[in-house]
């Protein structure tokens, strides 16, 4: 989702409350006028939003699951086009929707910032929602410190979730509501962005679900990464095996529900190849966002790694787990005969059946 030239034109703020001791959550307190921000404040707000939702962040594009009358998408479509006065009142049902999505007492209330604006070269409509927890901080006033309690969207705390609907200008005039809009979500703790921990925000509140294309992207991620490791000059077989083992670990064992090119490269690709890898993936139009770790299309490939000599006459198939556990290991070195060729020593921590028979 291209969020270039994001401009915010209207903002209204509603407040959601925590459960009280009796176990009931008071109704939201609605904002009754548009929030007026100066140019500096608008600039800063846009900066905070882009810092978590633009390309290169751990935001995730999602599919729209609920689009009927009364859904947040339905309200968003109305909010994009209504006049300022209507904007204040039409945003209230959205606050109600978030209120009813806070289904356990553990989920705190907070501030809901509803905004509308435009972005990209086509000035496409954008409607966004920020749920921010309220914190406190000290402010210095002369020689005193004053406690400010209604603090939210503070940069260091980063305690917020953002959902953005952007109108697709390429959709035909007769397209359905769900085809005319694209959705993007950022959750501060991205591990849970597509998991249960924050499901209430993207699912119950915004009516979104993980993108169906994620399984395909995960497959592309594996294929493209493999291709880079094999084709990049200077990566020897031993490093290649390490990188493939890293890929396997990242997809199967790394403790996150999502994958992202930069996260993988920062954790598993050596410095000298990292930016080349990042650029390679970008040049193949691989999305630079969070993708749900849907392994349905890669399970078979993940299980087996294949190696071959240059003339493909000798093939070796090894379970990926045997590589990551170092049950099979490779050592590539210069041939001892001084020919300048490379020889590979393969260590298998096991006897090979059939070896005696063939001798």
């Amino acid at each position: 989702m291209n969020l270039s030239q994001l401009q915010i034109n209207r903002i209204v703020i509603h407040q959601l409350h925590d459960h009280d001791i009796e176990g009931t959550r008071p109704e939201p307190t609605y904002g009754d006028r548009l929030t007026v921000l100066g140019p500096k404040e608008i600039h800063e707000l846009v900066r905070r939003i882009l810092a978590v939702t633009s390309s290169g962040t751990k935001s995730a594009e999602m599919d729209i699951a609920r689009f009927g009358v009364g859904s947040v998408l339905d309200h968003s479509d109305g909010l994009a086009r209504c006049d300022d006065n209507e904007f204040i009142f039409k945003s209230r049902p959205v606050a109600d929707q978030l209120h009813s999505s806070l289904y356990t007492r553990k989920i705190p209330g907070g501030i809901l910032v509803v905004f509308s604006g435009t972005c990209d070269t086509h000035a496409a409509h954008v409607v966004g929602y920020i749920k921010a927890n309220i914190g406190s901080a000290f402010q210095r006033q002369a020689n005193d410190l004053v406690l400010i309690e209604d603090l939210f969207l503070s940069e260091s705390a980063d305690l917020y979730k953002v959902g953005i609907f952007k109108e697709d200008v390429n959709a035909g005039p007769n397209s359905s509501l769900q085809d005319r809009w694209k959705a993007l979500v950022y959750d501060r703790d991205y591990d849970y962005a597509v998991g249960a921990g924050s499901k209430y925000f993207y699912d119950r509140f915004l009516g979104l679900k993980p993108a169906a294309s994620d399984a395909r992207f995960v497959r592309d991620f594996l294929v493209l990464s493999d291709k880079f490791f094999e084709s990049r000059t200077g990566i020897n077989l031993a490093t290649q095996v390490d990188l493939q083992a890293g890929l396997h670990t990242y997809l199967t064992m790394h403790a996150s529900e999502g994958i992202q090119v930069h996260e993988f490269s920062e954790n598993f690709v050596p410095d000298e190849y990292r930016d080349d890898y990042n650029e390679y993936m970008a040049s193949k139009n691989f999305p630079d966002r969070l993708i749900r770790k849907d392994l349905s299309q890669v399970e078979a490939s993940l299980d087996q790694r294949k190696f071959a000599t240059a003339d493909k006459k000798i093939l070796l198939r090894v379970p990926a787990s045997a590589l990551s556990n170092k049950i099979v290991d490779f050592d590539v070195r210069d041939a001892p005969d001084g020919s300048g060729e490379k020889w590979t020593t393969i260590t298998i921590k096991s006897a090979l059946r059939g070896l005696n028979e063939s001798k």
């Binding site: 030239q5 994001l6 390309s55 070269t121 990042n278 970008a282 040049s283």
Partner: protein, 329 residues
């Protein structure tokens, strides 16, 4: 010509010599500007070249008391006015020499050529410089401080061309060793030769350093000029280039992949929003008016580690530069 006639003539001619010295400086400056527009004169000429008129006492001493055996001292003394051009490196000397040797306003004769002197006596390390005497080719008027002064044909002016190090050496030694009011001891002469040898070696190292710097600067210029022409061709107007661009290019110079130009071209082709953002947000985000923004965007979109790790200013400035493009590092 006795001493008092000599002085009387000198007092009459002083203004003419001053005017001729000033004209020589102006002529060399003008030629430098037109033949080498890339040179900043204030930087190139390390010491402001001002004509220096010989003091009366020193002129009289030279004419009558230094056993120089002049047949016509007034006319034979050629350094009544002198001009010194001091540059940084030996190769810079050649720039001035070529102007002095070829200028038609005067007839130039080379009096001292330290390269030839060194070739004749390679084991000696002593005073080194180029000295020329330039004589006016024709009688003409020169406007000095608002007054026309007549300069007659053949009026001499001595030109010295030196490096800064050669100049430092001559400032230290000239009065004592070459104009020996006092007798320099063998120790002083030995130390002076050692310091000249050291300066000559330093000059060689300066040249190596300068060559390295020139080649770096050239690489920066090449990248910047690629960005400038790309910017004007895709945006339709010239970008604003200043020191920020130089700093950005310099910071990223050694971290660009070989095929960066090609990749940047492909990126711009793929992502039409880049051009439109640059065209639209210049007032709010001044950095997009600079050609180096193209390099920053390319790196931020494609090579994030490089963009982030080598950015030469504060992280906030980087975020501000790339946010309008909908990206973050």
């Amino acid at each position: 010509m006795n001493q008092s006639e000599f002085l009387a003539q000198w007092n009459t001619d002083k203004t003419m010599f001053r005017a001729w010295g000033t004209e020589v400086v102006d002529t060399v400056r003008t030629a430098l500007r037109s033949e080498h527009p890339e040179i900043s004169l204030d930087v190139f000429l390390r010491i402001d070249p001002k004509p220096r008129i010989k003091e009366d006492g020193s002129l009289i001493t030279k004419a009558f008391y230094r056993n120089k055996q002049y047949s016509d001292p007034y006319h034979d003394i050629e350094d009544k006015v002198g001009v010194r051009f001091v540059v940084l490196l030996r190769k810079d000397i050649e720039v001035i020499r070529s102007i002095v040797a070829t200028e038609s306003r005067w007839q130039a004769s080379e009096d001292r050529n330290f390269l030839e002197e060194q070739a004749k006596d390679p084991y000696s390390f002593s005073y080194s410089a180029f000295h020329y005497v330039v004589r006016s080719s024709f009688t003409h008027a020169y406007n000095l401080d608002g007054n026309d002064v007549n300069i007659i044909v053949g009026t001499p002016c001595e030109i010295q061309i030196k490096t800064l190090l050669q100049h430092a050496y001559s400032e230290l030694t000239h009065d004592t060793i070459y104009k020996p009011k006092i007798q320099a001891s063998p120790d002083i002469r030995r130390s002076s030769a050692k310091s000249m040898a050291l300066l000559e070696a330093a000059d060689d190292y300066f040249s190596i350093v300068q060559h390295g710097i020139d080649s770096e600067v050239q690489k920066e210029r090449d990248v910047l000029s690629t960005l400038q022409s790309l910017y004007s061709s895709i945006i339709g107007r010239e970008g604003t280039t200043n020191d920020s661009d130089v700093q950005i290019v310099s910071a990223y110079l050694h971290h660009l992949p070989d095929q960066w130009q090609e990749n940047l071209g492909l990126l711009i082709k793929d992502d039409e929003s880049i051009i439109s953002v640059i065209q639209n947000v210049g007032e709010t985000y001044p950095l997009v008016n600079h050609p180096s923004i193209l390099l920053v965007i390319y790196l931020a979109k494609r090579r994030r580690d490089t963009a982030k790790n080598y950015w030469p200013f504060t992280p906030t400035l980087l975020e501000d530069a790339i946010h309008p493009f909908g990206i973050s590092v």
